[in-house]
């Protein structure tokens, strides 16, 4: 495996923000998730829960609710606006002011023709969904008090609205309120506080289920407006509800961090009469569960503790399969760290600012496993605040460390750095074509900047001391409209590879300035790509953990890749639940491929035999105990190191030392606010 001097970097104070709302589209199996800072993330549940797209947020945009209408995604927030997202160009398409004060909730009818929002001023506003926009249609009868939650009956005739202290049922045609159901307040001191109906769900059998701030999940008869049952679930608030597609299961998220499941079960075996019975309780969160989605097979929950948890329902999935394992998605599936290999600099990307650090130095020598004394401490060179309230989408630092570029939804900015007396100057005149950059990347000699633009095209800009000049645009032939999410260049500056969320990988010849080839499309989305500096092989790792090596010269898969596919990857490798987010190569040994995911980093030695299905995959410890001769016999290509946890980046510097950027979850947890007080046994 080789020995490395490792820079163990733990000063990246990355803190994801709390999950606010989510919406699951069961047709496309995409989960849309919005965080407290307004950032939107799209996860593809069909493809190993891979985080496909991210739309950064904006200062002052607090999204409260999300809603899928077919393939279109709408959000509404406390700024009183309804936004539709452009998922191809990863930006808000347009916003419409609802003129009703802050919007608490959004919903659509089953047919996908109407959108309704609940406003602070007590109105439910209906919008007609047109092809390119939405248009205000009418208001329902105005109520006193804000509308906190809404749910449309599947037939489209009735609407249930959760308010303060009550639930209203509206006739969708006439717009008049037909029922008024009072929700009981909490007991004791909270008797004087009005109860908020945080969430309602209108089922097709005219049952209304509500969750409120007194900790109750209540089941109502929507036709008569009577209370059927009350389940006291928590001492605190029930914040969200979600009903499964077939309406046989219901989940409720609470402030205690628990998710409570209710099931619609017949009380005796042979009878048809069914009732809602509280069954399971999941406790996967330490803080409020703010958003829930009930998929066919799993409970998806997220909240204040920023983690997205996918908890499979064991009665719906096969036992002991990959599907039955619980997943916690804590870190983003894309790189937020950029490493300038030659200069030994690190660029950390935060939602609203960038930091440039110089890694520490040490001249000590020690045994493997020792920590060396630090001669020069790591230092923060630059902190660059984003302009204009838009959050940063992507950023890049040139290998020499002299150029820094970042992009937001609206613009791309380029800076020139000087380190002898630290200064930063903005390059003011940028070519007009460079306005959108989903991904940014510098060439290895720092003379070119690549920015991916709309429809998977890449804009090439030449940089020199004096000016910055637009060269040309590279376009794929496929005509895909999806954005590029991975971009990489070769060391010799000849190749540029792009990967988009349609799973296409295009390779461009930069000398000829045209498309060189397209890698055969694999069904799973690529999560990391890299071009080997000497052999010009493209290494692609996909969300389903498959690894491919593609020869750019021969335009075919290499021998090693074919062998790997033939033999198949080790089952333990395939069972890992975090994607590989970064691939680099060793400068010393061209046969080594270095890649990492959240829990490990791995060096694949292409000269060694591949592991058989029965051999031990994680065999570093056993190898160490064996004598020298036997080691060779037992060693295989995958050398996995699990010394580092919650890895955000592993990169190799020019002096052959390894930079490992860690973000321990415990540090993130300690930055969260205190959770609600809970009595623990024996405390």
């Amino acid at each position: 495996m080789g020995e490395f001097k490792v820079h163990r970097v733990r000063f990246f104070d990355y803190m994801p923000s709390a999950i606010r709302a989510m919406a699951f589209n069961s047709h496309t199996e995409r989960l849309a998730l919005v965080r407290a800072d307004g950032a939107l993330e799209i996860f593809n549940f069909a493809d190993h829960y891979f985080q496909e797209k991210v739309i950064p947020g904006q200062d002052g945009r607090a999204v409260e609710a999300l809603c899928w209408v077919g393939q279109r995604l709408f959000s509404a927030g406390l700024n009183g606006e309804i936004t539709e997202y452009d998922l191809e160009n990863l930006r808000p398409r347009y916003t419409v002011e609802a003129y009703g004060g802050p919007i608490w909730t959004i919903g659509s009818n089953k047919q996908g023709t109407l959108l309704m929002v609940g406003c602070e001023d007590g109105t439910v506003k209906m919008f007609e969904i047109l092809k390119e926009r939405i248009q205000f249609q009418r208001n329902l009868e105005r109520q006193k008090g804000r509308i906190v939650s809404l749910s449309w009956h599947p037939s489209g005739t009735l609407i249930a609205a959760g308010m303060m202290d009550m639930i209203r049922i509206f006739n969708a045609e006439t717009g008049h309120a037909t029922h008024r159901m009072l929700v009981e307040r909490g007991v004791g001191a909270s008797k004087s506080r009005e109860v908020v109906v945080w969430s309602v769900a209108f089922l097709s059998d005219y049952t209304i289920i509500s969750g409120d701030s007194a900790g109750k999940v209540q089941i109502w008869d929507g036709l008569t407006g009577t209370l059927v049952r009350t389940h006291l679930v928590t001492k605190w608030d029930v914040l969200c509800l979600s009903v499964s597609q077939d309406e046989s299961s219901l989940i409720a998220g609470t402030s205690e961090g628990t998710v409570v499941q209710f099931q619609f079960i017949s009380s005796t075996v042979d009878q048809q009469e069914e009732e809602w019975v509280r069954t399971r309780t999941f406790k996967n969160h330490s803080h409020d569960v703010r958003a829930l989605a009930h998929t066919e097979t799993a409970v998806v929950s997220g909240g204040m503790d920023t983690q997205l948890v996918v908890r499979p329902l064991l009665d719906k999935v096969e036992k002991n399969t990959q599907e039955s394992a619980m997943r916690k998605i804590a870190l983003p599936h894309r790189s937020l760290v950029c490493c300038a290999k030659k200069a030994g600099l690190l660029l950390f990307q935060f939602p609203d600012h960038l930091e440039v650090w110089r890694v520490g130095e040490s001249d000590g020598h020690g045994k493997p496993g020792d920590s060396l004394p630090v001669k020069r401490k790591p230092e923060k060179l630059i902190q660059l605040k984003g302009k204009g309230g838009d959050h940063i989408y992507s950023s890049a630092l040139s290998p020499c460390g002299e150029w820094l570029a970042y992009s937001t939804v609206s613009s791309v900015r380029l800076y020139r750095l000087q380190y002898n007396n630290i200064s930063i100057t903005k390059v003011s005149k940028l070519p007009k074509d460079l306005c959108l950059g989903h991904q940014l990347c510098f060439s290895s000699d720092s003379t070119k900047l690549f920015a991916s633009s709309r429809h998977s095209s890449v804009i090439v800009v030449a940089l020199n001391q004096l000016e910055c000049k637009y060269l040309h645009t590279l376009k794929p032939k496929s005509g895909s409209r999806q954005p590029v999410h991975l971009l990489c260049t070769s060391e010799d500056g000849k190749w540029l590879a792009t990967a988009n969320t349609d799973c296409e990988i295009h390779v461009y010849d930069l000398h000829k300035r045209k498309l060189h080839c397209t890698v055969p499309i694999y069904s799973s989305c690529p999560t990391a790509i890299a071009i080997h500096p000497t052999t010009s092989h493209l290494v692609v790792v996909h969300a389903d953990q498959q690894i491919f090596e593609y020869s750019l010269v021969q335009k075919e898969y290499t021998e090693w890749s074919r062998k790997l596919q033939k033999q198949g990857l080790h089952s333990l490798w395939l069972e890992r639940d975090t994607p590989v987010t970064h691939v680099t190569f060793s400068l010393k040994n061209p046969a080594h491929i270095i890649l990492h995911d959240m829990f490990m980093f791995c060096i694949i030695d292409q000269s060694l035999p591949l592991p058989e299905s029965k051999t031990l995959l994680y065999n570093q410890m056993t190898l160490r105990s064996l004598p020298e001769q036997e080691r060779i016999r037992h060693s295989h290509a995958f050398k996995i190191c699990k010394n580092f946890k919650h890895v955000m980046c592993v990169s190799l510097l020019e002096d052959h030392s390894l930079v490992v950027v860690e973000r321990p979850l415990l540090d993130m947890m300690s930055q969260l606010p205190a959770p609600v007080r809970q009595k623990k046994f024996a405390t």
């Binding site: 049952r229 389940h231 006291l232 679930v233 499941q261 099931q263 079960i265 017949s266 009380s267 005796t268 075996v269 019975v277 509280r278 069954t279 399971r280 309780t281 009665d315 719906k316 046994f681 024996a682």
Partner: protein, 829 residues
């Protein structure tokens, strides 16, 4: 168990009442529970034992009300029979033999039984015979838990749920299909998922299971292989030992080591009620069929009856059994009750005759803290003097790293309060653990003496200090005498083990490891030493009565020696590994328990005779270390030689599983059976001495009610109680005479009792009554002694019965002539 002649080892008195789940009858008046080899019927209101249903010859392993007749109950036993009882009258109705050993029954229309961890359905043959052999057995489930709480019938007997280890199995009878659900061994937090008990909801398809880690799971949808679901309730911090739904299914009761009964609302599980401080870990929970009463069995052999408003209403306490008995078994000379360790820090006085706990005596007088790992004061030794006036107790506390704390307490019997009162506390009587303690047996002498031996190498004699010491200068000091040390003895620095006084109190034998020293308590001089081939002495015992010249001892080297104290020489010795040697205080007999190959043998012998009176091999498994001769209330007349030793007293012993066993003879059993038949009394009244007294009195009164006793006696039969009305109300309608006849009789009964007092009518009335009574007697199949007694007075007048009809005809004629108009007015008013 090996039968020896007609002497058997039985559970009698002090047996476990918490062995199996008790059953409450439909009217909530009685509680049935398995107790040793019998089924006991307790009254739920008075806590008294009403019947003792005897008949099984081995441990009763389950009791169950017959579903089709709620006045009958099934019981099953390890002797392989299922018996059907009429528990209100205590009558055995039927016996059914099962070919295999029955371990426990479960509830259903057909009685099911478990044998070798297999659940079988038994088809009960319908036959009139009292003894029926059931042959039709069909296995329902195999590999089930031996714990009967882990198998239960669900909703109307449609399915059966059984848990074993980590697997729950549900079997549907109609579909004949079984579903199995298993849990992981341990969850991530280290909780143990092993099932401990199961309960089924009476109306819904919901199974509640208790688990090792204190969780309760409510299973639903279990008729699906995969889509089953459960919710979890968690309050208990350690294993849930019992679960029960109330009959309507509105509440779920659970209990465990915490000794707290938890009542969960079904479907609103976060609302729960607690009944804390029940005293000991809950082992079983039972609910009455009408839901009015709950009852919980506890590990300290107690049944608590709880009203459904979660309030304790009665406590039935059996013999308290802890992990071990520190003190010997003793007999209180006054109350003839068995005395041993009871609740922590207490001595219990248990009446063996009445099978009832008399009272607990708090020895330690400190709060006991229910927490494992705490070292607290424990009563380790106790001794009574011969008259029962004095009780000596030793309590000790051994803490890690701390010095041993010892207290010797002497208690005097107070005639006024009829209990023991603390007289003297001697803290640190010895420097090390006390190994033996005994009182001088002399009943006549005023100087009661106590000798204690200790590991510190001394034995001490304690004496009640003379009165003069206390009333010398300070008259204000408590005038009652207290105890103080009289003599400290030692022998070559050896550690004394046992001590024993001779029957007349003139000699004290103390064993110092392998040497037996004999002292004179009067002068404290060492009279002689007796020793045997080296090995420490284990037991030391003086002979009684005619054998008082003998001293017996057992050694570690499997030797039983008998010394003659007159010659100071070894009379005889025999090689046997005696674990316990015991002398009967009322006869010359000695009992020796020998441990051999994991079993205990019993030998009863007289020291003067070389041949044992009685011997029985394999009395029980394991070693017997505690036993006692309890004097009988009345002497048994047994002529058989082998059972004569049981005539005056009864031998009780504790097995290693803390079961109190005794020996019984056939004649005794027969007598008991006979007496239990005689003791058929009115249902609701407990068979107390008070009742017997009253009952006798009433019988006498009724007997004395002869016809000529006068007018005052005439008032006693009230109209409701009069025979005519009884006849009218109790006779079946189809055998009643015509209404006109009845009406006249009815009117007549009213007339006589209220108005007319003429001698003639009175006589007629009496004779009529007699006739009715005699008729009733012939009709009723079961003769009640009570009724017999009531009728007995008039038996002689039976010959007058034929004349009765004439009298009636005459009376009828007279009534016909009477003007009935007033009757309407009477009826209207």
């Amino acid at each position: 168990m090996v039968e020896h002649g007609d002497i058997r080892v039985v559970h009698r008195g002090g047996s476990k009442i918490n062995f199996r789940k008790p059953v409450i009858t439909n009217d909530s008046r009685f509680l049935l529970c398995a107790s040793g080899e019998s089924v006991k019927v307790f009254s739920t209101s008075t806590e008294e034992c009403i019947h003792d249903l005897r008949g099984h010859t081995d441990l009763v392993t389950g009791v169950l009300i017959k579903p089709s007749n709620h006045l009958q109950a099934f019981s099953c036993s390890a002797d392989g029979t299922v018996r059907l009882w009429d528990f209100t009258d205590g009558i055995l109705i039927k016996v059914r033999l099962l070919p295999s050993i029955v371990v426990c029954p479960v509830l259903s229309v057909s009685v099911s039984s478990q044998s070798l961890f297999q659940l079988v359905a038994v088809h009960l043959p319908q036959s009139g015979d009292q003894l029926v052999e059931a042959r039709e057995l069909s296995a329902v489930l195999t590999g089930i838990s031996s714990n009967p709480a882990a198998t239960v019938f669900g909703r109307g007997g449609e399915y059966i749920a059984s848990a074993n280890g980590l697997q729950l199995e549900v079997y549907f009878f109609k579909k004949q299909k079984a579903y199995r659900f298993s849990l992981k061994e341990d969850n991530k937090k280290g909780g143990k998922n092993t099932f401990t008990c199961v309960a089924c909801h009476p109306n819904d398809d919901c199974i509640a299971t208790g688990h090792e880690d204190g969780k309760i799971r409510l299973w639903r949808n279990f008729n699906h292989k995969k889509e089953y679901t459960y919710s979890t309730l968690h309050w208990h911090h350690s294993a849930v030992s019992s679960l029960s739904f109330t009959p309507e299914g509105t509440n779920l009761l659970s209990g465990g080591i915490e000794s707290v009964l938890v009542q969960w609302r079904y479907n609103q599980e976060n609302q729960r009620d607690f009944l804390p401080r029940l005293g000991a870990a809950i082992t079983h929970i039972a609910v009455s069929p009408d839901g009015a009463l709950y009852c919980t069995s506890h590990s300290d052999n107690k049944i608590t009856i709880i009203q459904s408003c979660v309030k304790v209403s009665a406590v039935i306490q059996g013999l308290v059994k802890g992990e071990s008995v520190g003190t010997d078994l003793m007999i209180d000379p006054r109350s003839k009750s068995l005395v041993l360790n009871g609740k922590p820090g207490h001595l219990q006085f248990y009446s063996l005759q009445r099978d009832k706990l008399l009272y607990n005596l708090d020895i330690v007088q400190q709060e006991y803290i229910h927490e494992s790992g705490l070292q607290q004061f424990e009563v380790v030794k106790a001794a009574f003097d011969a008259s029962g006036n004095w009780l000596a107790t030793v309590e000790e506390r051994k803490q890690k790293g701390a010095e041993l704390e010892l207290n010797l307490k002497l208690w005097a019997f107070d005639e006024q309060t009829q209990s023991f009162v603390l007289n003297t506390t001697i803290s640190a009587p010895h420097e090390a653990q006390i190994t033996g303690m005994c009182f001088s047996h002399a009943t006549d002498s005023q100087t009661t003496m106590l000798v204690s031996t200790s590991k510190d190498g001394h034995f001490k004699a304690w004496q009640l200090a003379a009165q003069s010491q206390t009333d010398g200068k300070q008259p204000s000091v408590c005038p009652c005498p207290s105890w103080s040390c009289d003599f400290v003895g030692a022998y070559h620095g050896l550690v004394p083990e046992c001590c024993s006084f001779s029957a007349d109190g003139s000699l004290l034998a103390v064993s110092f490891q392998e040497v037996v020293t004999v002292w004179s308590p009067a002068s404290w001089e060492l009279l002689t030493t007796l020793s045997q081939p080296p090995k420490a002495i284990r037991n030391l015992c003086f002979g009684r009565l005619s054998c008082s010249k003998y001293l017996l001892g057992t050694t570690d080297s499997n030797l039983l020696c008998c010394w003659n104290l007159l010659t100071c020489s070894l009379e005889w010795s025999t090689s046997m590994d005696v674990s316990l040697l015991l002398a009967d205080p009322l006869s010359e007999n000695m009992a020796a328990f020998c441990c051999q190959a994991g079993c205990t043998d019993l030998f009863v012998f007289k020291p003067s005779e070389p041949r044992p009176l009685f011997s029985q091999k394999a009395v029980c498994s394991g070693m017997v270390t505690r036993a006692v001769f309890a004097p009988r209330e009345e002497m048994l007349e047994s002529c058989e030689e082998s059972s004569q030793w049981l005539n005056r007293s009864q031998l009780y012993f504790l097995t290693q599983y803390m079961d109190l066993m005794t020996f019984t003879t056939k004649t005794e059993e027969e007598r008991l059976m006979a007496s239990s038949k005689q003791l058929v009394i009115d249902d609701s009244v407990a068979m107390t001495p008070f009742y017997l007294l009253l009952g006798k009195h009433r019988q006498q009164q009724q007997g004395g009610d002869d016809p000529q006793s006068g007018v005052s006696a005439e008032r006693t039969p009230l109209p409701q109680g009069s025979v005519a009305i009884k006849e009218l109300l109790q006779t079946p309608a189809h055998v009643l005479p015509s209404t006109s006849f009845l009406c006249s009789m009815f009117v007549q009964s009213l007339l006589i009792s209220v108005t007319d007092s003429s001698k003639h009518a009175e006589e007629e009335m009496e004779s009529e009554k007699e006739e009715e009574d005699s008729e009733e007697e012939i009709e009723s199949s079961r003769t009640r002694p009570e009724q017999q007694a009531a009728v007995g007075g008039g038996e002689a007048a039976e010959s007058a019965a034929p004349a009765m009809t004439k009298a009636q005809v005459r009376e009828l004629r007279r009534v016909k002539k009477l003007d009935h108009s007033w009757l309407a007015g009477l009826l209207d008013s």
